[in-house]
Each structure stands twice: as C-alpha cells, then as structure tokens.
C-alpha cells in the first residue's frame, strides 16, 4: 500500500513537471518586460508562486537570446558584474502571440475538464 502511494506520488510529480516544462518560457518571458538579472528573475518568479531552478532558467535565457528574443548586457551593479536581460521588440511580439495561444489552450482545457465534472 505504502509503495503504491509512493509510486503514485512519484508519477504525479513527474507528470506535473512535464506539464510545467511547457510554460516556463511563458513565465520567464512575462517577467522580462523589465530588465532583470538571472537571480532576481528566479526570486521574482518564486515570490509570485512559480518555482524555477537556476539549472533550468539560465540555459533557457541563453536559448531565448540565441533566438533573438532577448537582449542582454553585463553591467557592474553593487560593485559586482551582473548580466541583465530584457525582451526586445521581437520578444515582445512573441510574448503577445504566446499569451494568446496560452489563453486559447486554457479555454480548451477548461472546457475539456468541465466535461468530466
């Protein structure tokens, strides 16, 4: 019985992670209309209820920059260099499109879930 519960919890965590993986991009981009450095972005997302680790976020920021959706620059702040990221115009447009797509998906999922209630 205990093992069954343990397996169920593990499976649930795996599926939840899988579900979240797709929306991390949207969550990160949504906070980058204002300039942020990596650590502040992690803190900001965490404070708003979206927990994301540095091992996921930093590589994601690099990918978004390679896709030319973000601009970044190193700046000395508090006597320490930090890399600041911000959405550029293409990034903002992409965020708008992603937001629309997300809302549509949300509606579809909502109606699908309503069917089973």
């Amino acid at each position: 019985m205990g093992m069954m519960n343990e397996k169920r919890t593990t499976d649930f965590e795996k599926l939840k992670q899988e579900m979240r993986r797709g929306v991390i991009v949207l969550a990160a981009m949504s906070q980058l209309k204002q300039e942020q450095y990596g650590y502040s972005l992690i803190k900001n997302l965490k404070d708003k209820g979206f927990d994301v680790g540095q091992d996921t976020l930093y590589p994601l920021l690099r990918r978004l920059e390679q896709q030319e959706l973000l601009d970044s620059e190193w700046r000395v702040d508090d006597s320490r260099p930090r890399r600041y990221y911000i959405l550029n115009e293409t990034g903002k447009e992409m965020l708008r499109d992603l937001k629309t797509a997300w809302r549509e998906q949300q509606e579809v999922i909502r109606s699908l879930l309503d069917e089973i209630e």
């Binding site: 450095y37 650590y39 930093y58 590589p59 690099r62 930090r82 890399r83």
Partner: protein
C-alpha cells in the same frame, strides 16, 4: 560581502571545473554568469556575514552539484545517433546484419560441403564465432558511419536518409495467416511429432544405429543396423535442434501468439537445420542395408536399394536446403520490415 582566500580558491576551482566541461566561445561567459548567481545566492543566504568562508561556499556548491552536471545544462544533448537518424540507422543495421549473417551462413555451408570437415562441433563453433565477429564488425561500421553523419550532418538535409524514412502506404504490413493466432491443433501435432522424434533418435543413439526387425512374427525380435556411423555422429545435434523446435512450439502454444522472439528463434533453428542437412549430404551414406543383405531370402538387390535410398535422402535434403533457405530469407525480410511485438 567578501570571500576569504580559501573560499575564493574553492569557488575558482569550481568555476574552472565548469569551464573545462564546456566548449565554444561562450564558456567564459557562462562561467561568469554562474559566478554571479553563486555570489547573489551567498549574499542572500548569509546577509550578515562580512567574510564568506570555505564552509559557506562548500554548502552552496554541494547544492549546485558537480561542475559536469551544471555545464551539461548549457550543452545541447549529445547523441552518438540522434532521434532524427535513429529509425534509418536501426533499419540499415538490421538489414546489413541479416545480410552478413546470411552470407556467412551460405559460405559456411558451401565450405563444409566442398571442403574437408575435420570436426563437426569445431565447424559449428567456428560458424558461430564467424557470425559473432561478422555481425559485430558490420554493426560497428554502420554505427560509426551514422555517428559521423550525426556529427557532421547536423542541421543539414540528407536526401537518402529522408527517403529511407519516408512513409509509403505500400510499406504497410500485409495481414498474412502468420499474423493470426497460431493454430492449436497444428502446434499440438508439432509437439507430439517432436516428442516422438526425440524419443526415436535417443533410442537410435543408444542402440548404435540398430532398430528392431521382425522377419517372422512368431520368431524372436532381431536388431538390425539401419543407420551408419556417419549419421550417428550428428544425432546429438539433431536432438538439440529437435529440442529447440519443441520448446518453441510449446512457447507458442502457451503464449498464444507469434512474437519477435519466437520468429527469430524459428529463423535461427531453420538456419541450423540447413547447416545440418549440408553436413548430412556430405557424410553419405547415412543408412545401410547390410543386415538385410545378410538375412537374405528375398530376391532383392540390397546394394542397389541402399544406394537408391541414400541418393533419395540426399536429393530430399538438397531440396530441403533450398526450400528452407528461401523460407529463411522471406522470414528475415518480413521480420526486419515489420517486426513482431
């Protein structure tokens, strides 16, 4: 916030470890960003400390994990043969290995029929050794070629590979009788015949090729030699193959469907049957009618009859070799293109 000397050294060693795991122009930049993150983390975790010591650095580095793991997050996943090429790689691998095994089997059969066979078991062992090394080197070469395509063809369109993976409706498997449930009656007959065969050849092996002969129903049973020593040397192999066939039939009867395992099992035993038949042809005569000649009585030319019987067996087995080989090729192609579950 300041780091003392040993803490700074430890952090620098960690960052060096990360850099060594990274390639490309961005490695310095990535390491600098990780350092920036770690310093932010230290500042938040130990806000009141004027000087950070090795102890605090150790704590956060342990949380971060090994430099290799951290660096791996920044590298794109590396494959020997990636998901794009894998279906084509696997198809080519199966075709080439099947072709190599087929060619080596054929060459072993031809060699054993034409050449001088010193020891059957040695030839069989040599055959399996050749197959193993042949399949391994063919598999290795194919893997190496695809690994090179993966490495240097990244992002490029490869027409031949794309064509190989293209979906064509006529490639869909045919629903043949073999896809259906194996017939229980047929399998039961196969099992019964298998048991009778094993019992008979075990008996022949124990009697040294002699079988009971009743010249006169009222007289005592006589034993006459029917099988030659040439034939008897193959009886253990015949028994082993009959055992494999029997086990396969029982497996099919129990599981109730054809699986990849039972199909390949059949292909392998059929291959072994072909080799065995080739050896048997080479070892003629397999049966002797000497004993009947000595018994006499009937006006029959036993020498001629013996030669006729052995020739008949040889022709039967030659036909068997051709038929079984064609069946093996057909089954191999079928199993490669549309593998069973």
């Amino acid at each position: 916030m300041k780091l003392n000397r040993s803490a700074r050294d430890l952090l620098d060693r960690y960052l060096l470890g990360v850099k060594r795991e990274l390639t490309g122009k961005q490695r310095e930049d990535i390491a600098a960003e990780i350092e920036s993150y770690l310093l932010d983390l230290l500042e938040e975790r130990f806000p009141k400390m004027e000087e950070i010591t090795e102890l605090q650095i150790k704590e956060i580095l342990q949380e971060m994990g090994a430099p290799r793991k951290v660096a791996a997050q920044y590298s794109s996943q590396r494959y020997l043969v990636g998901p794009r090429l894998f279906p084509a790689y696997f198809l080519v691998l199966k075709i080439v290995i099947a072709a190599v095994i087929g060619a080596l089997t054929l060459s072993t059969i031809i060699n054993s029929v034409i050449g001088e066979t010193i020891n059957v078991w040695l030839t069989v062992l040599e055959y399996f050794g050749t197959i193993w090394s042949g399949a391994l080197s063919a598999g290795g070469s194919i893997t190496l070629i695809f690994a090179l395509i993966e490495r240097f063809g990244e992002g490029k369109e490869i027409k031949e590979i794309d064509e190989l993976q293209e979906f064509k409706l006529h490639d869909l498997p045919e629903l043949s009788a073999e896809d259906k449930e194996p017939g229980k009656i047929g399998l039961s007959i196969e099992i019964a015949l298998g048991i009778i065969g094993i019992a008979f050849f075990t008996y022949v092996n124990n009697t040294g090729g002699f079988v009971p002969y009743f010249l006169n129903p009222q007289a005592e049973m006589e034993m006459v030699r029917l099988f030659t020593d040439n034939f008897l040397q193959y009886v253990p192999l015949i028994l082993a193959l009959a055992g494999l066939d029997l086990t396969r039939s029982i497996t099919l009867l129990v599981q109730g469907y054809q699986s990849s395992l039972t199909n390949w099992w059949q292909i392998c035993t059929q291959g072994a049957h072909v080799v065995l038949m080739a050896f048997l042809i080479k070892s003629l005569p397999l049966i002797t009618l000497d004993a009947f000649r000595m018994i006499g009585g009937a006006d029959v030319d036993f020498a001629h009859l013996e030669s006729l019987a052995n020739t008949g067996i040889a022709i039967g087995m030659a036909v068997g070799i051709v038929g079984t080989s064609i069946d093996i090729i057909r089954k191999v192609i079928r199993e490669i293109r549309n593998p069973s579950a």
